[in-house]
C-alpha cells in the first residue's frame, strides 16, 4: 500500500508542475496466459522533451512496457496516449531503437538508415540525402556503403539510432540500446546521445538495467519492480549536466541517486 501511495504522490507532483506529457500510460496491464502477469496497472506520464528511463531487474517487464508504447505488443488492459491520441499499433510519431540493432545484413549502411523512409515510399535520392545527414550526426560518414558485418557493435547501434532519427519522430523508444556493446563504447555512446538529443529536441523513453546509465542520462527514472512488473518509484536525478562526463560521475547528487536506486533494487532482489 505504501508503494502505491508513493506513486500517487510522485504522479501528483509531476502533474502539479504542469508538465506537458508526450506519452501517457493509463492502467496498462499485460498478462501472458492466465497466470503470468508481465505488467500490472502501470500509470505513467512521460514529459515532452525529456529523457525518461525505465529501470529495473530482468523480469520487471520494462521491455514489454516499451514495446506496448511502441505499438509492437498489445496490452491486455489499459490505454496508451501519444500526443493525446490513443494508439493502436506503431505510428510515425514514434521510432524504435532495437537492443539487437535489427539491421538488414544484406543492405549497406545508407539503405539501413533510410529504411523507414523507404517504407513510406520516399524516392531514393531524397531519402538518401536525409540518411546522409543523420549518418553524419552519428559520426559514421564514410561508412555509407559498408555492410553491417563490417562494423563493430557500437557502430551498428549508431546505424540503428540514425535510422530512428531519420523518420523524424517525436519520441525515440530505445530498448537497452547499449547492452550489446562494450563499456568504453557504451560511455562514449551515452555522451554522444546526450549531446545529439540537445540538438534534436526529442523525447526519449529508454530501457536499461544499468543504474549508472539510467542516472547518467535521465531526466526522470521510473523504477519498476518484478513479478508482476509495476511502478515502484519515480526519481528525478536533477543532475547538473554542464560539467564534463567525469565531473558528473563524481557529482554527489549522481552518486547519491545511484546509491538510493541500488538500495531500492536490492530490496526486491532479496
Amino acid at each position: 500500500m505504501s508503494v502505491d501511495a508513493q506513486i500517487t504522490d510522485d504522479m501528483a507532483t509531476i502533474r502539479g508542475a504542469g508538465v506537458d506529457s508526450i506519452v501517457e500510460v493509463r492502467g496498462v496491464s499485460k498478462f501472458y496466459e492466465p497466470d503470468t502477469q508481465a505488467l500490472l496497472n502501470i500509470n505513467l506520464e512521460f514529459p515532452r522533451g525529456e529523457m525518461t528511463t525505465l529501470l529495473g531487474p530482468s523480469g520487471c517487464g520494462k521491455t514489454t512496457l516499451l514495446k506496448i508504447i511502441a505499438g509492437l505488443l498489445e496490452q491486455t488492459e489499459g490505454e496508451v496516449f501519444v500526443n493525446g491520441m490513443r494508439i493502436k499499433g506503431p505510428g510515425p510519431e514514434r521510432a524504435f531503437v532495437f537492443q539487437d540493432f535489427a539491421l538488414m545484413p544484406w543492405a549497406n549502411v545508407i539503405r539501413n538508415v533510410s529504411f523507414g523512409l523507404e517504407l513510406r515510399g520516399m524516392p531514393k535520392k531524397e531519402r538518401y540525402d536525409i540518411a546522409r545527414r543523420y549518418i553524419a550526426k552519428v559520426n559514421l560518414t564514410g561508412f555509407e556503403e559498408k555492410f553491417p558485418h563490417e562494423l563493430s557493435g557500437g557502430m551498428r547501434q549508431r546505424v540503428g539510432l540514425a535510422r530512428a532519427l531519420c523518420v523524424d519522430a517525436d519520441v525515440l523508444l530505445m530498448d537497452e540500446p547499449f547492452s550489446a556493446v562494450d563499456e568504453q563504447t557504451r560511455r562514449q555512446f551515452q555522451e554522444d546521445l546526450l549531446s545529439l538529443l540537445q540538438i534534436e529536441e526529442k523525447s526519449v523513453i529508454f530501457v536499461t538495467h544499468s543504474i549508472e546509465e539510467a542516472v547518467y542520462v535521465s531526466d526522470q527514472i521510473v523504477l519498476l519492480s518484478p513479478r508482476p512488473g509495476r511502478v515502484n518509484k519515480m526519481i528525478r536525478p536533477e543532475i547538473d549536466r554542464r560539467g564534463s562526463a567525469d565531473e558528473i560521475r563524481r557529482d554527489k547528487r549522481y552518486l547519491d541517486t545511484v546509491e538510493e536506486i541500488w538500495h531500492e533494487l536490492r530490496d526486491y532482489l532479496e
Binding site: 506503431p90 535489427a102 538488414m104 562494423l151 523518420v167
Partner: protein
C-alpha cells in the same frame, strides 16, 4: 578494406595464407582415393572392377567419340525441366506455406512424408502413369527434388528474423512490404541452399529413372556397358556423373556464398 579503422576486415585477410595447405590436403585426399582404386583394380578385387587408369582411358574415348555428349543431352533435359518445375512451384509453395497457416497445414504433412519416405521406391510406379519417355524422368526428378525445395523454403520463411520483422512493423511497413523487403531477402540464402540440395536430389532421381525405367542417357551407359561386360566404360560413366553432379552442386554452393552471404565473402 581501405579504411584502417575497421580492424575486423583486415583480420579476414589473414586466413589466405592457410588456404594453400587446405587445398593441398584436399588434393591429397582425392589422390589417395584414386591410388587405392588403382591398386584395388590391379589386385584385382574382381574382374568387374577396372583400374583407375583404364577407367580414365575409357572416359577419354567416350568423350572423344561423342557417346558422353549424347548421353548427357538425354540426361540433362529432364533434369533441367524437373528442377525448373520444382524450383518455380516449390519456392512459391514453400513461401506460401511459410506465410499462411492454411497452406502450412495442407502442405506440411505431404511434403514431410515425401521427404522422409524412400521416394525412389515409387519410381517404377511412375512408368505405369507416364510411360518411359521424358515425362517419366521429369516426374522422377520432381518427386525427389520438390519436397526438399518446398520444405527448405517453408522453413526459411518461418525462420525469418522476428526482430527484423518487428523492425519493419515499427516503421509502419505494410504486410506486403515486410514480405518483399524483409522476409524474402532474409530467407533467400536458405531457400537457395534448398535449391542446391534439390538439384543434388534431382541427379539421384534422373539416374534412378534411367537405371530403372527409361533406357537412355548416363543411366543407360551404365546398364549397357555392364550387360556387355565393358566394365571400364561402365565405371567411366559412373565416374563422370559423380564428378559432374559434384561440380554442379559445388558451383551452386559458391554462387550461394557470392550472392547471399556477404559476411562469408572475401576470406
Amino acid at each position: 578494406m581501405s579504411s584502417s579503422s575497421v580492424n575486423l576486415l583486415e583480420r579476414t585477410g589473414h586466413p589466405r595464407f592457410r588456404i594453400a595447405p587446405v587445398r593441398l590436403w584436399q588434393l591429397a585426399s582425392v589422390i589417395a582415393v584414386f591410388m587405392v582404386w588403382e591398386i584395388a583394380g590391379r589386385v584385382p578385387i574382381s574382374v568387374a572392377f577396372p583400374t583407375f587408369l583404364d577407367t580414365m582411358q575409357a572416359l577419354w574415348t567416350m568423350i572423344l567419340d561423342g557417346r558422353m555428349a549424347k548421353a548427357y543431352a538425354k540426361t540433362l533435359e529432364p533434369l533441367v525441366i524437373g528442377i525448373g518445375l520444382s524450383g518455380a512451384f516449390g519456392i512459391a509453395f514453400g513461401i506460401l506455406m511459410g506465410l499462411s497457416k492454411k497452406f502450412q497445414w495442407i502442405g506440411e504433412p505431404i511434403f514431410v512424408v515425401m521427404q522422409a519416405a524412400p521416394m525412389a521406391a515409387l519410381i517404377p510406379l511412375v512408368t505405369f502413369i507416364y510411360g518411359i519417355g521424358v515425362a517419366a524422368k521429369v516426374v522422377a526428378v520432381v518427386i525427389l527434388a520438390a519436397p526438399i525445395i518446398v520444405l527448405n523454403c517453408y522453413r526459411a520463411v518461418r525462420n525469418a528474423s522476428p526482430s527484423l520483422i518487428q523492425m519493419a512493423e515499427s516503421f509502419q511497413g505494410t504486410r506486403l512490404q515486410t514480405i518483399r523487403k524483409i522476409i524474402i531477402p532474409d530467407a533467400a540464402p536458405m531457400m537457395f541452399s534448398g535449391l542446391r540440395l534439390g538439384v543434388a536430389a534431382g541427379f539421384i532421381g534422373v539416374i534412378l529413372a534411367e537405371l530403372l525405367i527409361t533406357p537412355n542417357g548416363i543411366g543407360d551407359l551404365i546398364t549397357y556397358h555392364r550387360s556387355v561386360a565393358e566394365y571400364a566404360d561402365m565405371y567411366a560413366a559412373i565416374f563422370s556423373i559423380v564428378c559432374f553432379s559434384a561440380i554442379v552442386v559445388g558451383l551452386l554452393e559458391k554462387a550461394e556464398v557470392v550472392l547471399f552471404r556477404p559476411e562469408k565473402k572475401g576470406g
